[in-house]
């Protein structure tokens, strides 16, 4: 789950990591006074806001309200602005970069920092980026901060502040179950203070059961995506028109690859994962119908999700709703015979080869929508 900047900064503040003074609004009238120059920042879960016009500056109450009114409800790089963060404008002397991310290769947190902040980190040359794997058994220690600030060419009080922030980044990463904590830019002000001008955080979805504070504060999902998430189904919208229901991520991707070999493209994919509940299958099928594909392609290789469980769920779904589009089914694995019987009782012929089923699905799609 990606956090909005204002949410990440609330967490930073709670951990004692310096952030500019600010508050969040949902209406321009919520701005009551402007004592210092402020930054009016649209809260969207995408980078490059500044360039896209999502960040404005104001010196008076009137200017701030006008800027906020212009941003609220507008779209920044395709994301609708619902919240705005009003923050004291910093007098910027220098900009740095710092982050902690889960590194897949070492399976440990990776601390990265650079004196070249304020630009995309991908555009910074490798030799200008400090990288240090942190062993969780010892955690962050001051020597890492000394190495990091030396690498960045910082000294004295600024080095001390940056070291402190590096330690806080690691603390936040660990205690908040993050996959990513990133500050870009980390700003050195004209007054000599180092603080987080921006804040990016991704919290590990699988840890949300122990973080009740994020309930109802999740990222912007389409209504159908929200429903899927509530039901524990992986639901992804793509740009074709074949609706794919499969069990398991790898098999789902292999299904998309197989469709593409016959010239078909998936519009939605829905991964049932491991389930033994027909009810879950039924509700997944309802979601799929709601997404209005040209044809529904069901590809099940039974294991922990048994084939007949899926067939029963499908039968229940079909008996309670008008599907309106052809269904192509491929069933294999645990209890496939039972599943094939159930499906044939509702008029669906299941095939056992993925390639054959993919070819049929594309053919049906072309009958419905026309095409090459």
């Amino acid at each position: 789950m990606k956090l909005f900047e204002y949410m990440a900064k609330e967490i930073f503040r709670r951990h004692g990591l310096p952030v500019p003074d600010g508050y969040t609004i949902e209406s321009a009238d919520d701005i009551k006074e402007v004592k210092h120059p402020v930054v009016v920042k649209s809260q969207v879960l995408i980078g490059g806001r500044g360039k896209a016009g999502g960040i404005k500056f104001a010196e008076t109450l009137d200017e701030a309200r006008k800027a906020a009114a212009a941003l609220l409800g507008s779209e920044v790089r395709g994301y609708k602005v619902k919240h705005i963060l009003i923050e004291d404008k910093l007098d910027i002397k220098d900009e740095f970069y710092i982050s902690v991310v889960m590194d897949r290769s070492t399976r440990m947190p990776l601390l990265m920092a650079s004196a070249d902040g304020g630009v995309e980190i991908e555009s910074v040359p490798e030799e200008r980026i400090f990288k240090r794997t942190i062993d969780p058994t010892i955690g962050y220690n001051p020597y890492i901060g000394r190495e990091l600030t030396k690498f960045m060419g910082l000294t004295g009080d600024v080095a001390k502040q940056v070291s402190f922030i590096a330690g806080k980044m690691y603390e936040i990463f660990r205690t908040e179950d993050a996959e990513l904590v990133e500050i870009n830019p980390l700003v050195l002000t004209a007054e000599g203070k180092v603080m987080a001008a921006d804040a990016k955080m991704t919290v590990n979805d699988d840890s949300l059961f122990r973080h009740a504070e994020y309930k109802g504060r999740d990222e912007e999902l389409t209504p159908i995506e929200r429903k899927a998430r509530e039901r524990g189904i992986a639901f992804v919208q793509l740009d074709g028109d074949i609706g794919v229901i499969a069990n398991g991520a790898g098999l789902t991707m292999a299904t998309l690859d197989s469709l593409s070999l016959y010239g078909g493209r998936a519009g939605v994919f829905l991964d049932l994962g491991g389930t033994d509940s027909p009810e879950m299958v039924r509700s997944a099928f309802e979601l799929m119908v709601e997404a209005k594909p040209a044809v529904i392609f069901l590809n099940i290789f039974g294991g922990i999700t048994k084939s007949d469980t899926v067939a029963v769920g499908l039968r229940e779904a079909i008996s309670s709703m008008d599907v309106g589009v052809p269904i192509v089914a491929r069933i294999k694995g645990v209890n496939e015979d039972k599943a094939i019987d159930i499906l044939s009782s509702i008029g669906i012929t299941a095939v056992s080869s993925l390639a054959e089923a993919a070819e049929i699905a594309v053919k049906r799609r072309n009958e419905v929508r026309g095409g090459d």
Partner: protein
């Protein structure tokens, strides 16, 4: 021979009294696995499909001389169960549980490393060595004993590929599902190394998917250290960037983790890469 599990495997099932635990204990016994005990706290003294249940792992290992455990407990209890397994004296721990918090995974692997325990998973279908033992949830019927090793990040896609190998008359030495999470106990390289050293295995099928750089790292290893031929399929050739394709690890982020990059790395290491799963069997047959 075979790798990780074989006729010497003595297995404890953690979470044996749950629905999945019971069902798969039965299926593993049918496969020929020596399931010597199960653990569910508070249910010690019971029996599940003829297998004695214990309250703790330490007790179970002490009574049965087990060397392997498989874990089915829900994600929120997984860290505790995995620590208990690693601390109990078994040498191999297979974690089936999905949706495990990534930082829990990290802590589990650090402890396992210190204790010299091999972890498979989490979020994986387990390991099967046909004719010897299965520690996992893969369907029994798809396997056939033989000389092809299979290693895969996926669950059901592993079944798909093993099934197509069997249908083509190509038997397997061991099939290992290493799991689809970004942080996992046994990597492609670990499995490839074991297959390279296993006399029964003559060739390896490596099933990857988009996301991360594990396949690229494996390609490097294959080029430098493998003598046995490797065949591969990479799922997600048609997946768009920025979308998490079901697995936590299956995402093309910041231009990294594309299928093209993986296929290119593998092909330059001499690996034959299939476009769709069923093609793997055809590629192998062409070389026989």
């Amino acid at each position: 021979m075979a790798i990780i599990v074989d006729e010497n495997t003595r297995l404890i099932v953690q979470g044996i009294t749950g629905h999945q635990g019971q069902y798969h204990t039965g299926a593993m016994k049918e496969f020929g696995t020596k399931v010597v005990g199960g653990v569910t706290p508070g249910k010690g003294g019971q029996e599940v499909v003829g297998v004695p249940v214990f309250d703790t792992m330490r007790e179970a290992v002490g009574e049965t001389d087990a060397n392997t455990s498989i874990i089915y407990v829900p994600a929120r209890f997984l860290k505790d169960a995995a620590f208990e397994a690693i601390d109990s004296g078994v040498k191999t721990v297979v974690i089936i549980t999905e949706h495990v918090p990534v930082q829990d995974e990290m802590e589990i692997l650090m402890f396992a490393q210190r204790k010299g325990v091999r972890v498979i998973g989490p979020n994986c279908p387990g390991v099967a060595s046909p004719g010897k033992a299965k520690v996992g949830i893969m369907p029994n019927a798809i396997f056939m004993e033989g000389s092809t090793g299979v290693v895969s990040r996926s669950g059901t896609l592993t079944y798909e590929i093993v099934n197509s190998l069997t249908e083509a008359g190509i038997g397997q030495s061991t099939a290992v599902g290493i799991g689809g999470d970004p942080v996992i106990g046994t990597t492609f390289i670990d499995a490839l190394r074991m297959f390279e050293d296993d006399p029964q295995t003559e060739r390896i099928v490596m099933v990857g998917e988009i996301g991360g750089t594990a396949e690229e790292e494996a390609a490097e290893f294959i080029k430098e250290q493998m003598t046995k031929p490797v065949y591969s399929y990479i799922a997600g050739r048609t997946a768009p960037p920025g979308k998490r394709m079901g697995h936590a690890g299956a995402i093309i982020a910041r231009g990294r983790g594309t299928a093209e990059s993986k296929i290119k790395a593998l092909e330059s290491a001499g690996v034959k890469v299939a476009r769709v799963p069923v093609e793997i069997a055809e590629l192998i047959k062409a070389d026989l």
